[in-house]
Symmetry: D2
Subunit: 241 residues, 4 copies
C-alpha cells in the first residue's frame, strides 16, 4: 500500500486527478471503474475541463462498480445518474465509452470485464462503517464476485437510500448490485481516497487494523497496487509516519 | 482462478513445469519463490535436466517463502536444504541466483523483494489443514507480511518438525519464518498445486468455500492471477465442472 | 533479446511448447498469433495432445498474422488452412477462439487487436531472405501496420506461392495480407524460432547485424521481450557465446 | 502511438506532469529517465512543488539517458548538472534515488537497468535534426545499446556543445554517452514532447514519415506505448486529425 497524505481536500483531489489522467493517456484501451458520491465531487470538477473535447481520451472505458435501481423509473439507477451528473455528461463522454452495470446484466459483469482485459484501475471511497462499493459490513463475503444485495428486509438501509431518490421510499428497490471483494481485487490498480475528520477512525481501522469481513474495506490491504490518498483530517488518527 | 485438472501426478507435474519454464525463458529478470516438500518432487525431476547447463536461465532468481532454522547447525535451514537437494544442487543453480530467507534477514524480506521488482511467481502446495507457506490455521492473520512464528509453546508443531531433522527435537527451533498472506498476495502470479486423495477435502474447502483465516489458503482465491493445478484425486470432491 | 540454443529440432520444439503452454495457462484472456509453415510442425505435434480436450485453454484466442487467399476458393486462405491442418483441427480448437485475418478484414486488424487488449505473444519463423510474417525484403517499410502486398507484377513470388496451391498459378492472388513491423512490435512478447543449417546465415545477419529494411526481421532486435530459439545448426554461424 | 495536442506550452507541460506524477504514485519501484534541456523547463517548475517534501515519492529512481562530461571538472556532466538545477535540487530528491550515467559506467548501463527491472518511462524531447537522447543523424544505428559517441573530429558538434560550458571549447570532451535506440525501446513507456513552430517540420517527419536512421527519432514510432505530446505550434504541419 502506498500512503499519500495531502494537506486538504483540494490537493487530495488534484493528486487523484493526476493518477487518473496519467493512466488515461496511455496508448491502449483503459478500463476504469470510478466512484459516485461526495468524495469525488472536486475531483470531477478538476477533470471535466481536462477531458471534455479531447479525442485522445476516447480509449477510456468507464464502468460502475455498483448500482441501485430506481423503482418505477426508466434509465440509469442512482449510481450512474450521479456519475452522469458529475462527470460523464459535463465531460461529454460518448455513450460507447460507458458500460453500465445494472439489474439486467450484473450476472455477466465479471465475465464481460475479463473479456475486455480487466479493469486497469478502480477508484473508490470508504464509508464510515467500512463499506466499499456496495460491500456492507454484515453482508459481505470476501469471496464474493459481483452479486445482488437483498435489502427487502433491511428497513434502515432502505431509508438511507430513500434520501437519494427524493425521500420517496417507494422508489427504493429490494435489491441492489455490487462488485464483490473478489471482483475488486482482480483490478490491476486500486485507488482509495478519503477526506475529513469523520473518516479518520475507519481509515485507521480498515488500512492499519485487522483484515476482517466486519470491516469490508480491510481486504484491500492485500491488493499489490493500492494507493490510499487522504487529507490530513482523514489521516489524523494514524500514528506518526 | 484458473482450475487445471490433470489425470495424474505425472501430468500435473509436467503442466506445472511448463508454466515455470515458460516464464523463466522471458527476456528479463524473473523472481521465483518455489516450494519444498513432497508435492514438487516429480516437478523438480522434470526440471533439472531442462535447466542444468543452460545459461539462458541465469536471469532467474530464486527465493524461499519460509524457513525453519536447524538449531546448532550452520548453513541452510530445513526449507533451503530441501530445495537444494531436490533442485538447486542437481540443476547447478549459481549462488548468485539464490536469495535465502532465514533468521538473519526475514525482517527485510518484503523490502528486498520490492526493491528487486517483486516476485513474478510463487509456487505453493497446500497442507491438509489449509496452511500455505508457513501460514498455519490458528496463527495466521491475513494482514501479515513476512513474520516469525513462535512455536516455543507448541509441542505438536515441534514434534512434527522434528521428523525433518532426524527426529531430534533439540534441533527444532523456537520460531520459524514465513512470508505472510499480504506478502504472498503481492506476487504477480500464484500457482498452487496438489495431488492425492488426502488433499481433496481441503482443496474444496480452501478454493470453493469461505475466505477465512481458519483456512489460510482460502485468501488465495482473491489473487487476480491464481492457477490451481490438481490431479483427479485431489479434485475428486469438486462438483462436476 | 534472450538467446536459447537447443541441441536439436526436437528440443527446440519442446522449449517453444513450454513457452506457449505456460502463457496459455494464465488466468486471463490470452491472445496469440502463431505461425504456419514447416518450422512449427513438431511444435504442434507436441501441443495437440496437451491442448485437445482441455477446457482450461478456452481463454486462448488465436490470430494469424498473414494470409494468402486462394483465388476461386471459399473458406480459409493458405495460412489458416495450414494452421487448421497442423493444429486447430486436431486440437479441437473452438471456432469462437479463432480470429482469422483475411481479405475482408485486414484493414481493421490493428484496431480489433487493440480493442481485444493486444497480442500477448507472436510466434514467428524467419525466411532465408530475412522475411518475417509477410514482410519481404524490398517491399517492407518498418513503419507499416497491417497491409496488403501487391504481387500482381511479381512473377517469381507468384510462382513460389503456386507450390502451396497444387502448383496452380491461377489460384495465386494478386495481393496478400500481413501484419507490418509496427503491428508486430506492439505485441507484449515475441518468440522467433529457427532450425537447420540453411537458416544459420540469416539468423546471424538478422539478429546480430545491422537493423535495416533490407533484412526485415532485423527490426525485431528492438523489441523489449524477444526470445530467439535455435537448434545448434541454425546457431552455427554465431560467434562463441 | 497516442497523439496529444494541447493548446500551448503551459497545457502541454501540465499534461506531461500528470503522466509522470500518476506513474510515480504507484506502489512499486518506479524507474524514470528524464530529459534535460529547454522543453522540460515549465514541466519541472510544475513538478517541484508537488514532489518536494513528499516522502511518498521516494520509490522513484531517476536515470539520465545521456551525459556529456565536462573536461577538467569534477562531479556531474552537462546533463546531470542541468537536471540537478531544474529538478533534483529544488525538489530535494535524495542522492539514493539518483543513478547517474557517466564516463565511468556507461558500459554497464543496460545491465544495471535490466537488473533494476527496466525503465518504466523515458521522457524525451526531439531535436530539429531528428535526434533523441544523444542519437544524432549520421551517427546513429538503430541496433545500438548504450554507447560512446566519438566527436573528436566533429568540430561543429564540439562548438555547439561549448555553449553549454561557458563557451569554453577546452571543456568539451572527445566523446559523450547515450542510451541507443535499442536501450530506449526496452522501456515500458515512452513519452516524447515538443513545442513551438520550429519543431513542427521534424515532428511530422519523425512520427508521420518513414522509419529511417537518417531521422533517429522515427524508430520510436515502433514502440508499443508511445505518447507524443505537442502544443498546437509543434503540431501545425500535421494533416487535419
Amino acid at each position: 500500500m502506498k500512503l499519500i497524505i495531502e494537506k486538504d481536500y483540494e490537493t487530495m483531489s488534484q493528486t487523484t486527478a493526476n493518477i487518473l489522467l496519467g493512466l488515461m493517456s496511455e496508448d491502449h484501451r483503459v478500463n476504469l471503474a470510478i466512484t459516485a458520491g461526495n468524495t469525488p465531487k472536486r475531483l470531477y470538477e478538476i477533470m471535466v475541463p481536462q477531458v471534455k473535447g479531447r479525442p485522445y481520451f476516447e480509449n477510456v472505458h468507464y464502468y460502475n462498480f455498483d448500482e441501485i435501481p430506481i423503482v418505477g423509473s426508466q434509465g440509469y439507477g442512482i449510481t450512474m445518474r450521479n456519475l452522469n451528473d458529475l462527470y460523464f455528461s459535463p465531460a461529454n463522454i460518448k455513450k460507447e465509452q460507458l458500460h453500465p452495470l445494472d439489474e439486467t446484466n450484473w450476472q455477466t459483469q465479471d465475465a464481460r470485464l475479463k473479456e475486455a482485459g480487466g479493469l486497469d484501475l478502480i477508484l473508490m471511497g470508504i464509508g464510515e462503517d467500512g463499506h466499499f462499493c456496495g460491500n456492507m459490513p454484515g453482508w459481505t463475503k470476501f469471496g464474493a464476485t459481483t452479486y445482488a444485495v437483498d435489502i427487502s428486509q433491511a428497513q434502515a438501509a432502505k431509508e438511507a437510500l430513500a434520501a437519494e431518490v427524493d425521500g420517496d421510499l417507494r422508489k427504493v428497490p429490494n435489491e441492489f448490485y455490487t462488485m464483490g471483494p473478489k471482483s475488486v481485487m482482480a483490478a490491476k490498480r486500486l485507488v482509495m481516497f478519503a477526506n475529513g475528520k469523520k473518516k479518520a477512525a475507519i481509515v485507521k481501522k480498515a488500512f492499519f487494523g485487522a483484515v476482517t469481513e466486519a470491516v469490508p474495506a480491510s481486504i484491500l490491504q492485500l491488493h499489490p497496487n493500492l494507493t490510499l490518498i487522504l487529507d490530513t483530517e482523514a489521516a489524523s488518527e494514524l500514528a506518526d509516519r
